[in-house]
Amino acid sequence: MSTGETDHDALREQLPVYAIGALTGAERAVVESHVRGCTACAAELSRFAPVAGALAQIVPLHDPPAALRARVLASAGGRVIAMPARRALTAWAPWLAAAAMLVVAVGAGGYAGRLREQVRQLEAELRDARARVDDGERRVNVALVALADAQKPLAIMTAPDVRQIDLAGQRVAPRAAARTFWSPSRGVVLMAANLPALSPGRTYQLWFVTPAQAKVSIGLVKPDANGRVTTVVSNAANLPDPAALAVTDEPDGGVPQPTGQMYLVGAAH
């Protein structure tokens, strides 16, 4: 397809929308055909590739349920993981009743043996179902506790002067990440995930780094067994304006100035 100057200008206008995958099939085909022969447009297009990525990355982050992992690995990898579901229980029940009547009618001991085996199996499935219910209750309790805890940081996160600073995991912990909310008037909230467990006698410590490179300790950060933590520092008045925030690995109890490796860093802009 040949495209003239007018087409070039019109198509160039559509490049950003094309880049984020928001053109219809017909529109897209025209743009693709043009870009293939126009190096200027191809270069322009590449400048929007990170915009398309960023739009995906800025969605609110949520952890998927833990059970999804097994489901994905089973379905994708072709592994068959037995799912002793409630369905199995109800499907068995009428059969079991019929079998029981048969045992009575015929009086055959062989059936009784098989029946006992099936009862054992059903009992096992029942235990499994109960375990799932318990697990569900446990999750609700965890959520309620989390909700109560969430009330505290809320005051800081909704402060009129609040600022958000995101921290990225460093080489020692590439999967770690954190988000902080800093309100000069109300304090600091740090929410981190995927922090690795430290050796005994060590603790994480949060720092403000001023533009003049001074480091001010904000407090200790104590993740749970899953590497998650929400740290609230309410008495944070008179803190200097930070250029960056960092979380380091320090001796238990904390230190006046950082000595250990950095796990999380983020610029305050």
Partner: protein, 198 residues
């Protein structure tokens, strides 16, 4: 110096290499490689799917479909193109939008994207490129700072898969105006990415 060194350390080149390596292992049937890629990226993929389809169970289905496809088609992924993470994000968005369209009773392919096309599309295209935390934060701030009349059409396009004409109809705004506003919004986000974050 301390701070500069720290910021320079932010980078996921190592993870990108590990992804490519894992894809190669998947081709050879190594299921641990799939688990590794899952662990590295599922949080972002699930969150993106959830943002689009809204219901957690639907988002789980989307993630499962994506990894199923990755496992089957690992060998067809063109290593010379963008990162594996970018490919996963593109697949997730396509699958999630397909599901959304199915619910709206619209055709799943040919409107904006189709999942199969994303995989084997030999066209010039542009490979979605993931950014670092600071850049993402700047884009988030820029998006939130956009006037509603620019932000809303962009969100409808990216997170709901509506075409520009559909957006124009929904917002009762002329198509030309929608096109201009979406372009302005995207230029603003691109500029936010280019800003220096020290």
């Amino acid at each position: 110096m301390w701070l500069l060194a720290a910021l320079a350390a932010i980078g996921d080149a190592a993870a990108a290499d590990a992804d490519r390596h894992a894809l190669g292992r998947m081709v050879r049937g190594d299921q641990d490689a799939l688990a590794e890629v899952y662990d590295r990226h599922v949080r972002l993929l699930y969150s993106l799917a959830l943002r689009i389809v809204r219901r957690p169970t639907d988002a789980e289905d989307v993630v499962q479909e994506v990894f199923s496809q990755v496992w089957r088609q690992a060998g067809r992924y063109d290593m010379s193109r963008g990162t594996v993470a970018g490919w996963l994000v593109m697949l997730t968005r396509s699958r999630a939008l397909d599901r959304l369209r199915r619910e709206r009773g619209e055709p799943q392919t040919g409107d904006i994207e189709s999942a199969s096309r994303d995989v084997v599309d030999p066209g010039v295209g542009v490979d979605l490129q993931l950014v670092d935390e600071q850049q993402a934060a700047r884009v988030r701030a820029a998006l939130e700072g956009l006037p509603d009349q620019q932000r809303v059409p962009l969100e409808l396009a990216y997170y709901e898969g509506l075409s520009q004409s559909a957006i124009a109809a929904r917002l009762e705004t002329p198509l030309g105006t929608i096109k201009t506003r979406m372009r302005q919004a995207l230029l603003r986000l691109r500029d936010a990415l280019a800003e220096q974050g020290t």
